[in-house]
């Protein structure tokens, strides 16, 4: 019985505090002290952030940071549960596709006042990253943490055997009609069981031993690592404006022609059929020598360079019809939960995470590219020291050929529609023109 009374009191306290904080108010009143909980999902970054936490406590002896790492699969369900249960972490790593909904449901603390008061300079971050985290209501909900772009990982032994030099790999071009030198390279890298290459006579596309290009998935509506670096060179954009677009462009012929060309690679035998990719991971297949080239994001550098017996090269994505490259530019940030009991301490931690003190530490571990310009340069050097040349990723930033990850409302519903539709097209079951019909359904969500 005592427990029930205590429970009722606790529930009441939680309800009251939730009500007070759920206005998304940006109060940083109160002393900055106490214990705060921080969540992230990438295990590879854990040691770096643990060091940041201990450095932070040295500077702010009253604040202790407890870091919890949860796998990506469970991360978002557990986080949402935390919102509902009232025990979400004070600070957590956030993703562009999820934060609009959280902001909408008033679960994120606005950081504008803190940024102004503490004089946080937003120009130290790579171009465009800071703006991504300003919501539709004009309030800021995150401070940039890191960024990623897309490049091509290739098996050096296979390209050498095919007579393709690293210079050639770094200077491929593409167009939706005949695939340019990109398709030629992929075809040449494809080997069937009899040793015939994809562009030689007698090539048996039903008996392929090594595919030129690996396939991860259809990419659903975003195609971050699958096809967006191609569509980005045709002048096509996902939505009418970004961020906060409300009309998608999947009915555009430039998009559909690109998908048609890409899906066609599987018909020609240069790329695995979609049905064969459901299962382990595309990187494991690369590690098993089943594909010569994989287009992937910079967060996978560690994975691709870890396979025993494979020397991995990295080349930038091919140049397109507009003569330039393109890569989707994604940036993670750390956000503060609106229901935190320690807003002052939490904001201080977020500011520290977004400062060069912490980002330099992350850079030195060579796992991701931190958001601050100087820190990401340090990261590139750290990768080099490990023997990996990451200029393929950084060149997109320095050349200014990046475009932002699409940020819209209803992201989950759009995915629910585009996922099966893209699967059907890439597997050859339906024609690319059916995507216009899906586009209508998607746009209907915004009416």
């Amino acid at each position: 019985m005592k427990r029930t009374l205590g429970a009722v009191a606790a529930a009441a306290a939680i309800a009251i505090s939730l009500a007070a904080c759920s206005g998304g108010s940006s109060t940083t009143a109160g002393e900055a002290k106490g214990d705060i909980n921080y969540w992230l999902w990438d295990a590879n970054q854990l040691p770096a952030y643990q060091q940041c936490a201990s450095d932070f406590t040295k500077i702010n002896p009253d604040i202790k940071v407890k870091i919890t790492q949860r796998g990506y699969g469970d991360y978002w369900t557990t986080l949402t549960n935390g919102f509902v249960a009232g025990n979400a972490p004070d600070v957590f790593a956030n993703h562009l596709s999820k934060y609009p909904e959280f902001a909408d449901k008033k679960q994120l603390l606005a950081l504008d006042d803190a940024v102004k008061k503490d004089g946080i300079k937003l120009d130290v971050y790579n171009e465009g990253l800071a703006d991504l985290w300003v919501g539709q209501d004009g309030k800021r909900y995150g401070l940039p943490k890191d960024w990623d772009t897309v490049a091509m990982f290739y098996n050096k032994a296979m390209t050498d055997a095919a007579g393709i030099t690293p210079e050639q790999m770094s200077n491929l071009d593409w167009n939706p009609k005949d695939g340019g030198s990109y398709e030629k390279a992929i075809a040449h890298l494809t080997l069937d069981k009899n040793g015939k290459r994809g562009d030689e006579a007698g090539f048996d596309k039903n008996n392929v031993a090594t595919y030129g290009l690996g396939l991860e998935s259809s990419g659903t509506g975003q195609g971050q690592t699958q096809w967006s670096f191609l569509t980005g060179t045709t002048g096509w954009t996902h939505t009418d404006k970004n961020p906060w677009g409300t009309k998608f462009n999947y009915d555009d012929p430039r998009f559909q022609d690109t998908i048609k060309w890409w899906a066609g690679l599987a018909d020609k035998g240069y790329m695995p059929k979609l049905e064969t990719t459901v299962g382990a991971s595309v990187s494991d297949a690369f590690g098993a020598g089943k594909a010569a080239v994989n287009t992937q994001g910079s967060w996978m550098i560690g994975q691709y360079t870890s396979y025993k017996g494979i020397e991995t090269g990295i080349a930038p994505t091919p140049k397109g019809p507009d003569g330039k490259r393109a890569s989707m530019f994604n940036g993670l940030a750390d956000s503060v939960w609106a229901g935190t009991k320690n807003p002052a301490a939490s904001v201080k931690w977020v500011e520290y995470l977004a400062s060069s003190a912490c980002q330099d530490v992350v850079a030195s571990k060579a796992v991701v590219f931190p958001a601050i310009k100087t820190s990401s340069e340090k990261a590139a050097e750290a990768f080099k020291a490990k023997g990996t040349d990451v200029s393929a990723f950084t060149t997109q930033v320095t050349d200014g050929t990046t475009f932002l990850f699409p940020i819209t409302e209803n992201a989950a519903k759009v995915e629910g529609l585009m996922g099966p539709a893209m699967d059907a097209v890439v597997s050859g079951k339906k024609d690319a023109s059916t995507l216009s019909e899906t586009n209508e359904k998607v746009n209907a969500l915004f009416k």
Binding site: R3, T4, G6, A7, V8, A9, A10, A11, I14, W41, D42, A43, N44, L46, P47, Q50, T68, Q69, R70, G71, Y72, G73, D74, T77, T78, N81, V84, A85, G86, N87, E216, T225, A280, S281, V282, S283, D284, A285, F286, G287, A288, G289, Q296, G297, W299, M300, Q303, S306, Y307, K308, G309, I310
Partner: protein, 300 residues
């Protein structure tokens, strides 16, 4: 006469051979995946992809088991392809044991009480109420998960042992169904004799019915324990706190860490083997009795 028996023996041999082939096939299909689990658990993650056809561990290493028992440092774990998160194995094991034992004991006991009421006691509306209990088996788990979660939250029992065990403590429709069938089939003579002697139902239940039903109750308890041991979704929702986390939830640390990353296969397989060992021990200890002596005297 001799020719007849000779014929019969021949026919029997054919059948027996066929039966034994079927058993061997069944055993292979059942056991091979476990051998594969062991093989993967003793491999190194980075070599798994290139050695996919080999039946032996790829690059033999005890690393996975070390990871499971929390004996690797974060750096070592990450170098091995695993997550650096801390796994407090013994704590999770203790929590799983507590959780499974408490819920099994309570659930089986209360279900037995209810089953007795449905099988032996006579009261108005008995069959209707029983159908209602049966009907609960048809409620999709997800349907009740969220309202139950909200209720536990409102009681302030989130992330407590009580909150995690509460929904499982009181009954299981399957257990009631199962035990009722058994009680119905039990011979009434001893009970009636006791009733004539003036024994009340409570006494009859504890002193006659329960002892007689030891075998099915043991079977049910074993099956329930296994089910509770492997419970994942509810403890994930309600029991995330480190101090009460159970093994199945703790295991999720071996699943993929980042969107395109692969799971820590060797760690996951090692963890699964280790998590299954307690159940295996239990099964070896009690299973023989259960598997060999379960006797329904007729299901009505």
């Amino acid at each position: 006469m001799t020719t007849q028996t000779f014929k019969v023996r021949k026919a029997l041999n054919w059948r027996r051979i066929g039966a034994w082939i079927a058993i061997v096939v069944a055993l292979v299909i059942t056991i091979f995946p476990f051998l594969w689990m062991l093989r993967t658990a003793l491999s190194s993650n980075h070599s798994l992809a290139s050695n996919s056809g080999s039946l032996l561990p790829a690059d033999f290493s005890w690393g996975a088991f070390k990871r499971v028992f929390g004996m690797q440092t974060t750096e070592e774990a990450i170098a091995d392809g695993g997550s650096g998160a801390a796994i407090d194995f013994w704590l999770y094991l203790r929590n799983s044991i507590l959780f499974s034992t408490v819920t099994t004991a309570a659930q089986v006991f209360f279900s037995a009480l209810a089953a007795y009421a449905f099988a032996r006691l006579r009261w108005p509306g008995r069959e209707k109420v029983f159908s209602v209990f049966l009907a609960t088996m048809m409620i999709p788990g997800i349907f009740t998960a969220l309202p139950n979660f909200l209720m536990i939250k409102n009681l302030g029992l989130l992330n407590t042992f009580a909150g995690m065990t509460l929904p499982f403590l009181f009954m299981s429709a399957f257990a009631i169904f199962f035990l009722r069938q058994f009680f119905l089939s039990m011979s009434r003579e001893v009970e009636e004799a006791a009733m004539l002697d003036g024994a009340k139902h409570l006494r009859i239940f504890f002193q006659i019915v329960l002892p007689n039903a030891a075998a099915p109750i043991a079977t049910l308890a074993l099956l329930t324990f296994i089910g509770q041991w492997n419970e994942y979704f509810w403890p994930l929702l309600v029991g995330n706190d480190e101090s009460i986390r159970v093994l199945t939830v703790g295991l999720s640390v071996f699943k993929s860490q980042s969107p395109q990353g692969a799971p820590d296969w060797s760690g996951l397989m090692a963890a699964t083997i280790v998590a299954a060992v307690p159940i295996l021990i239990l099964f070896l200890a009690f299973g023989k009795k259960v598997v060999n002596s379960i006797g329904f005297s007729g299901i009505k």
